[in-house]
Amino acid sequence: MKSAPFKYMRPDTLEEALSVLVEHGEDVRVLAGGQSLGAMLNMRIVTPSILLDLNLLTELSWIEEVRGFLATAALVRQRDALDDATVREHIPLLAQALPHVGHYQTRNRGTLGGSVAHADPSAEIPLVLATLGGEVELRTARQIRRVKASQFFRSALVTAREPDELLTALYWPRRNPAQRSAFVEFAVREGDFAIVAVACTLDAGTLRIGFAGCGETPQIIERTGLVDLDAATIQTIAREASAGLACQSDLLGSSEYRRQLAAVLASKAMSALTRETVHA
């Protein structure tokens, strides 16, 4: 399996990359880490006329604290995010999720921005961004806009990015010191696509649970005013949350199987939050 022919363009600056998108937008596929796109090109699921390789753009590989957010530039490798002390401190949910993203070898190359731009329904990084209520920075040659994750993911592999826009950074709300988080998923083998993945945060009585792998985009439920997360409450929330999910069927499982799995994993994630409380 070899990619169909394409024109390879490797800009040295962000400005050059954006001008290629202005001129050729619809015909371009943007290459970041290539751990999903490379396979899609080889299998000819996508056949762009231009491949725009961002890998020389050092302007897109920084991690910075910006007001209430930790911002990560699009080309930050998953491996480097996992090793980064500020990521572990400010977005522990992402640090909990990253070991589940692909394999050791694909994390060496795969990027945070690439995963979000690709928007696979079972992907962990988009799930974490949506669960935390993060934002996506999109840039054209003329303007920069920020889109909330809840509006960015439109459908499976479909996002709010326009053809002339480049995803340049992700904004992750920084953890409030009292926030607790947990991440669990089920896949057939370690590193496979998750059948269902669940991310969960608890902060001052507000519980957010995000589900990936069920529907076409991450689905988030929120409960406020929680006083006690005891076993009975966990079971009730897990049952109610999973009942309201859009769930699809495919070769890996039926929609009913996914709904059941979502309830089990949500209970596990919430229980992990309470165990964390005990240890604190």
Partner: protein
């Protein structure tokens, strides 16, 4: 900005196993094919060509990556190490390779070059890995002969021999 038209070839210059090389590659050529078909380094094996099996894994600037998911043009200026570059200074088996032999960590050997590349970086990252960590790293490689037991042992024993574990 580098531009390579579809179907056109360009010269790629990089370091392969410590030596400067240059080779002609089309824009869509995978790094794996550049190594095998152009530079005749057949030690890098190609299995699935979509990043799953791990056979084609090589080291690019010290990191284990799938050479089927990188294009040849992307290694311009980089340092690439294939299994041919992992032997010791006199051309004999490295410590890790010798451990693979001792622990029967291969049978047909198709997956071995990729696993050696990953294990090389992995042992640099983590000089005292647990069995769980080794198995987690190996989840990025498919071996249909060994059942992994010998591979896990070889990697753990190499770490131990180097004084980590």
């Amino acid at each position: 900005m580098l531009e390579i038209e579809a179907g056109e070839k360009t010269t790629i210059r990089f370091t392969l196993n410590g030596k400067p090389v240059q080779a002609q590659a089309e824009s869509r050529m995978q790094l794996a094919d550049l190594l095998r078909h152009v530079l005749k380094k057949y030690g890098t094996h190609v299995g699935c060509e979509h990043g799953i099996c791990g056979a084609c894994t090589v080291l690019v600037d010290g990191r284990a990556v799938r050479s089927c998911l990188m294009f040849a043009a992307q290694v311009e200026g980089a340092s690439v190490v294939t299994v041919e570059g992992l032997s010791n200074a006199t051309g004999g088996l490295s410590e890790l390779q010798a451990a693979f032999r001792r622990h029967h960590a291969l049978q047909c050997g198709f997956c071995t070059p990729g696993i050696l590349a990953s294990a090389t970086q992995f042992l640099q990252d983590n000089n005292a890995p647990s069995e769980h960590e080794v198995r987690d790293m190996l989840s990025g490689h498919i071996c249909r002969c060994t059942g992994y037991t010998g591979i896990v042992e070889a990697i753990l024993m190499t770490a131990q021999k180097r004084g980590g574990a």
